[in-house]
């Protein structure tokens, strides 16, 4: 029960990687604040988990694209030990078709929200010697076609992680877990909108050395490892949970 007595806020945790991480924190004793964009989604996620973990599941809704919402979310959080910035969006489009709206929304949700929440929650995290775990992507290290805004946003998250780690040491540890392709709604949406669905599915898997996409829980485990009190000498770390995607590739 390594997270007993710890409170963890996980953005984007009504589904996907965030939801998997939330379940793992609960299994290991933590109290979790779930977050999603819609109140209905948050309520459903809280209801689903609180039956099994009464008193340890809370929920807050906020639109991460709006920094006023991020600030109000932070204000509603009291004591906090671990912030997991997991909420993110992926809008694939070639450079020519990446509208200003796609660009601005991607940066707002994937970078600025993580920055604003980190800044707002730093006082409590400092006081409690807490940790921030940002969720990056293998796309922070590897360029992919038709997702220039997403790649830029995930690169920025790596920079944010390092800058926060340097400036908040030794009080707060700041780390970044970079998942490879993971079986979530986000990825499935990209697959189902592709011209050839089966081929798109194979292509995602082909980016990895393990030749498969990750289960959300596998990424959740990496997030828990980063947040764990066993990781006390790890800060500023960029942890690749990418099935070997950044290790190299076959000819």
């Amino acid at each position: 029960m390594e997270f007993a007595g710890k409170t963890i806020l996980i953005t984007g945790s009504t589904r996907g990687i965030g939801a998997a991480a939330a379940e793992l924190f609960l299994e290991r004793g933590g109290s979790v604040i779930l977050h999603g964009r819609s109140q209905a989604g948050v309520d459903a996620a809280v209801a689903r988990l609180s039956a099994q973990y009464p008193d340890r599941v809370h929920g807050l809704a906020a639109d991460l694209a709006d920094r006023a919402h991020c600030r109000s979310l932070a204000q509603k959080v009291g004591a906090l030990d671990i912030l997991v910035n997991c909420g993110g969006i992926f809008r694939d489009a070639p450079i020519a078709e990446t509208s200003l709206a796609i660009w601005d929304e991607t940066i707002a949700v994937n970078v600025t929200a993580s920055w604003v929440l980190s800044q707002e929650l730093l006082p409590v995290l400092r006081q409690r010697r807490g940790a921030i775990v940002n969720v990056g992507s293998d796309a922070a290290m590897l360029g992919y076609a038709s997702c220039v805004a997403y790649c830029a946003s995930k690169g920025a998250i790596v920079g944010l992680t390092r800058a926060l780690a340097i400036e908040t040491a030794p009080h707060v540890r700041v780390l970044c877990v970079c998942p490879g392709p993971t079986d979530t709604d986000m990825m499935r949406q990209s697959v189902t909108t592709a011209p050839d669905e089966a081929q798109a599915q194979l292509q995602w898997a082909s980016y990895t050395t393990l030749e498969r996409v990750a289960a959300p829980r596998e990424i959740g485990e990496a997030i828990l490892m980063a947040a764990s009190p066993r990781a006390t000498f790890m800060t500023g770390s960029i942890i690749m949970a990418d099935g070997g995607a950044t290790a190299g590739k076959r000819v």
Binding site: P94, I95, K154, G155, G159, L160
Partner: protein, 257 residues
């Protein structure tokens, strides 16, 4: 010293943030190598002053635009490409104001993210048809702070890391079009911006001493030596280079002295 020479006669380049500092040095090097160079800076006055310092002539084009705005980047590209050609796009414009986490407000954050990251995306987007037509070359001037971090610079570090990642995405997407995109990651240069930062620090001498020591080679870079490398990157000598993040940082990211 051995002298590298390049012949860019007939080529057209846009250098953003070319009013001073590294941008000016790159513009000068390209002009000296025969290229037609569009000089972007925030104001017409700044562009005109840079062009005057370079001695004027019909191979220098003023392309003033505020790159922090949504339409500024497109405007800069439009002015640079009135001749219907663009071979080299050098995204150099930046802001760099050191602030603690606590003192970083929304305007500060947005200005850094927009000028460094969004503007570099938007100029590429606007220039893409011409870059593809001429199998051109993009150089995004990032920073060693696109590869690692220092304290009191969170917005800049985030934006520069984003720029490195974005450059790779562009390189992959444009690889089959013959358009190369590379990120340059210079260490600290002795530019006007550096002098501003030193003045802002309250103790310029200590500031310079700290940054000299910070680089294993024990000195700052001169803008001219970085500009010379940009000319290499643009040349056929670097024809197989794309998607690279090139540290040119006096050993700063290599290790600890």
């Amino acid at each position: 010293m051995a002298k590298l020479t390049f012949d860019y006669e007939g080529y057209v380049a846009l250098v953003t943030g070319a009013g001073r500092g590294l941008g000016f040095a790159i513009a000068k090097a390209l002009r000296d190598a025969g290229a037609t160079v569009a000089i972007n800076d925030r104001t017409s006055d700044a562009c005109d002053a840079a062009i005057a310092r370079l001695g004027g002539g019909d191979r220098l084009i003023a392309a003033p635009a505020d790159l922090s705005t949504a339409d500024g980047p497109r405007h800069a590209v439009a002015q640079a490409t009135s001749g219907g050609r663009l071979d080299f796009l050098i995204n150099n414009a930046a802001v760099n104001v050191e602030r603690s986490i606590e003192a970083t407000d929304d305007v500060h954050w947005d200005t850094h993210l927009n000028v460094i990251l969004r503007a570099s995306f938007l100029t590429v987007q606007a220039a893409l048809p011409l870059l593809k037509a001429g199998r051109g070359c993009i150089v995004n001037v990032a920073s060693e702070l696109g590869l690692h971090a220092i304290a009191n610079n969170v917005a800049y570090v985030s934006a520069k890391h984003g720029l490195v990642a974005m450059t790779k995405a562009m390189a992959i997407e444009l690889a089959r079009d013959g358009v190369r995109a590379n990120a340059l990651c210079p260490g600290t240069m002795d530019t006007e911006l550096m002098r501003d930062c030193a003045t802002d620090s309250g103790d310029p001498e200590a500031y310079y001493t700290a940054f000299n020591r910070y680089h294993p080679v024990g000195r700052l870079a001169s803008p001219d030596e970085i500009a010379a490398f940009v000319l290499c990157l643009l040349s056929p000598a670097a024809g197989f280079m794309t998607g690279s993040a090139v540290a040119i940082d006096g050993g700063s990211t290599a290790g600890r002295l």
